[in-house]
Amino acid sequence: MKNNRRSFIKLAGIAAAGLAIAPKAMAAAMGGSAPIKEDPKGITAKQWAMVIDTTRLNTAQGIEKLAKVCHSVHNVPFIEGKQEVKWLWPDIYEHSFTEQENPYLADAVKKRQYALLCNHCQNPPCVRVCPTKATYKRPDGIVDMDYHRCIGCRYCMAGCPYGSRSFNWGEPRDHLDLAALNKEYPTRMRGVVEKCNFCVERLAVGKLPACVEASNGAIHFGDLNDPNSEVRAVLRERFTIRRKPSAGTEPSVYYII
């Protein structure tokens, strides 16, 4: 009887251990076998980052030109007023770098407009608060969204310290020129949040982000983890700042001042 109980407990133990590793063993046996791979044309990184040269890109007009390119590539609706949807936009120093204000700021710096967008934070609060994992951080550092999953709760908008996210209060298609859509890319629907995606769909086929391409070299783009990348070279040479560093989000967008 005693022996029996002991062997039963042993068996139960082994069974429990088996249960714990079975799913992993099965996945391993299948070789994690999703029949998929990356496009060899694509460019990859450990943490994509952007360095914006504000000595060269600093007028509302110049930044709006890039925003127009971005918004037409991604079918972003044009709405004026409080319900506006934006992926890239210009703003003044005091609004852009709230913690780094100074009453006697250099005239040049004060006069400039700054190009603002999602910072693709290394420690993104929007990802942490999203209840559906509609917002997630990809292995290449991009904070992306799966619009299929977004339930429009707007937690992420409350979580983002940079106002990088916009909500579709109405049907975005009502505010798009339907004849001029980019038919390679979807639109969004009413009730979801949207934001800049660092042009993941372009990186996947080996193209640089649309704004970088249109910036005439005023925006640098590259891998922050690669010491030989373009962004790291620029960061070594020029003085840069980031938005709200005290929030601890570790933005991946840097500004040359």
Partner: protein, 129 residues
């Protein structure tokens, strides 16, 4: 034993049962035999991403996997059972062969009474109006 209000109750019952059965009777009279919808197949492509049977039954699962693979894993090339490669994209792969949502997707979806919300965001090849 005498039934109180026998006649009205019986009449009421008959009307009630009649009303209950009416849909079946009327249905039998008006329903034609079900005809499979006629889909417009791509003109210059005979093979889909997977076999016809697979696509017919499982295209929704495939699209579901495709979405997660492309968006979350960043892997946008799919290799099918025959070893042929496809770019994972509804708008840029599927709808490049199936050049009409109305003549293809809608046919079965309408018949089956389902309304998937793909096209709330994705742009159909016919364009938007």
């Amino acid at each position: 034993m005498k039934m109180h209000y026998g006649a009205p109750i019986i009449v009421g019952l008959v009307i009630f049962v009649g009303a209950l059965c009416a849909p079946f009777v009327v249905g039998m009279a008006v329903t034609k035999t079900y005809k499979q919808p006629e889909l417009k197949m791509p003109a210059n492509e005979k093979e889909c991403v997977e076999s016809k049977e697979f696509m017919r039954e499982k295209h929704m699962q495939l699209l579901n996997d495709w979405r997660d693979w492309a968006l979350r894993d960043g892997k946008r090339i799919y290799t099918n059972h025959a070893g042929k490669e496809f770019t994972i994209s509804l708008q840029n792969t599927c709808m490049k062969c199936h050049i009409s949502k109305a003549d293809f997707c809608d046919k079965c979806h309408t018949d089956a009474g389902v309304s998937p919300y793909c096209w709330d965001c994705h742009i159909q090849p016919e364009g938007l109006k």
